[in-house]
């Protein structure tokens, strides 16, 4: 065993190897490692944020749903009120219409009755005149006695 030129050569090899590692190996491995750990940290933070956002979104959705349900209830109530009102109104209208129809039918009936009475009166006057003429056996001038006949007819 002796110390010789190998010592110097080994030192040179060692120094070159250290330089090489320092220049080309270490930073190029550590750089991506740091970058990856940052990426992972960012990813975890984003996941946390996403979870919080999901929770708040769920809360919002619940609130909206509750409001919608309330609104729907109100609308149904209103609709029922409207329907009741409409039925009441329709009933009122129908009653009034019925009464009106009844009134107009009564009037018609009265009118018909008056007409019939008029016609009957005329017929009776005719019959009375012809009966009287037959009794008297002579011709009574209808024109001369129309006045009398009309008076008679009005009395019936």
């Amino acid at each position: 065993m002796n110390i010789n030129l190998t010592l110097i050569v080994q030192m040179l090899v060692f120094i070159v190897l250290i330089w090489f590692t320092m220049k080309f190996v270490w930073p190029m491995i550590l750089g991506p490692m740091d970058e990856r750990s940052q990426k992972i940290a960012a990813g975890l933070a984003a996941a946390e944020k996403g979870k919080a956002e999901l929770a708040s979104a769920n809360e919002r959705a619940d609130a909206i749903l509750r409001e919608a349900r309330e609104r729907a209830g109100q609308i149904i109530d209103q609709a029922q009120h409207r329907a009741n009102d409409m039925v009441e109104e329709a009933k009122g209208t129908a009653t009034a219409e019925g009464a009106r129809l009844l009134a107009s039918a009564k009037e018609q009936i009265n009118l018909e009755a008056a007409h019939a009475r008029e016609a009957l009166r005329r017929d009776v006057a005719q019959i009375a005149v012809s009966a009287a003429s037959k009794i008297l056996e002579r011709e009574i001038d209808p024109k001369a006695h129309s006045d009398l006949i009309n008076k008679l007819a009005a009395q019936i």
């Binding site: 090899v13 590692t21 190996v25």
Partner: protein, 283 residues
């Protein structure tokens, strides 16, 4: 080992502990000698580490990572955690340095798990006589790394604290005095107390790694030497018993060695981080 098969266990082990070098060294320190096997395997493993991590880094994306990117990120994050635990300043060098040390030393040490005769046998096939495949069993490797770290310690100490601050750290503690004369008198004592552990850092750093891996390799070699003579040794029941013992012990040691391999790479990295953060922190 066909051509000149070692006949004794001693020869076998010595053969395995001989580097592939350009010539015989003269003395403990000889800078005209180079260990080609150590240089070859350390460069090859540096290319393996640098290449694979560079491929992962080039295709790295912030999206879902692939399997290999995942593995690389696991290693990078592990090292990054270690650095951040002990060092609180900003330093572009420290973490890549720690990553380089951990991966490179781990790969060096992992060569120890390969069967001790596999690569030398293959090398023998192409005419290479000696081959040591574990670069961390070469003191030159561990000392080169420790020395580089040591230079960085001094560089950052001076850069952060200034030359005066660095000198004060070495001379004005652990014994602190208010009196200026006493202060000057305490300088040699303090210097002695501080400089020894300071200089011991690179030595302990390199020797710890070297010693552990060298010992591990030695155990593998001793176990391999149990059945050195192959077929002729397997004639009796004792030979078979040796073979079974060799298999069981080598397996047990290899499994235990996995721990040593990882632990030593980890210790080298952590101590480097600690030393360099100490160098950059004010007391």
């Amino acid at each position: 080992m066909a051509a000149e098969a070692p006949t004794t266990a001693n020869e076998y082990i010595l053969h395995h502990l001989t580097f592939l070098s350009n010539k015989e060294p003269r003395g403990i320190v000889d800078f005209s000698v180079i260990h080609w096997d150590t240089v070859f395997f350390s460069v090859a493993l540096a290319l393996l580490f640098g290449g694979s991590f560079y491929m992962a880094a080039r295709t790295a994306k912030a999206g879902v990572p692939g399997k290999f990117q995942n593995f690389v990120e696991l290693v990078v994050e592990f090292v990054d955690t270690q650095v951040k635990d002990s060092f609180h300043g900003t330093n572009k060098l420290l973490a890549p340095l720690a990553l380089t040390i951990f991966c490179w030393v781990l790969l060096f040490n992992a060569m120890d798990i390969l069967p001790v005769d596999l690569l030398p046998w293959a090398a023998h096939g192409v005419g290479i006589e000696h081959l040591k495949v574990v670069p961390t069993t070469d003191l030159n490797t561990t000392f080169a790394m420790a020395l580089t770290v040591f230079v960085l310690i001094i560089y950052y100490s001076i850069k952060v604290k200034g030359l005066g601050g660095f000198a004060a750290e070495l001379t004005l503690q652990p014994f602190v005095a208010k009196n200026i004369v006493l202060k000057i008198l305490l300088i040699p004592v303090n210097l002695l107390l501080e400089i020894v552990p300071f200089l011991a850092r690179p030595i302990s750093l390199s020797l710890r790694l070297y010693g552990n891996l060298f010992a591990g390799e030695m155990i593998f070699l001793l176990l391999a030497a149990l059945t050195l003579h192959g077929a002729q040794q397997l004639s009796g029941a004792g030979g078979w018993a040796l073979l079974v013992a060799q298999f069981a012990l080598a397996l047990a040691w290899a499994i235990f060695h996995l721990l040593v391999i990882t632990l030593q790479a980890f210790i080298f990295m952590v101590l480097t981080i600690v030393y360099l953060s100490m160098a950059q922190e004010h007391h």
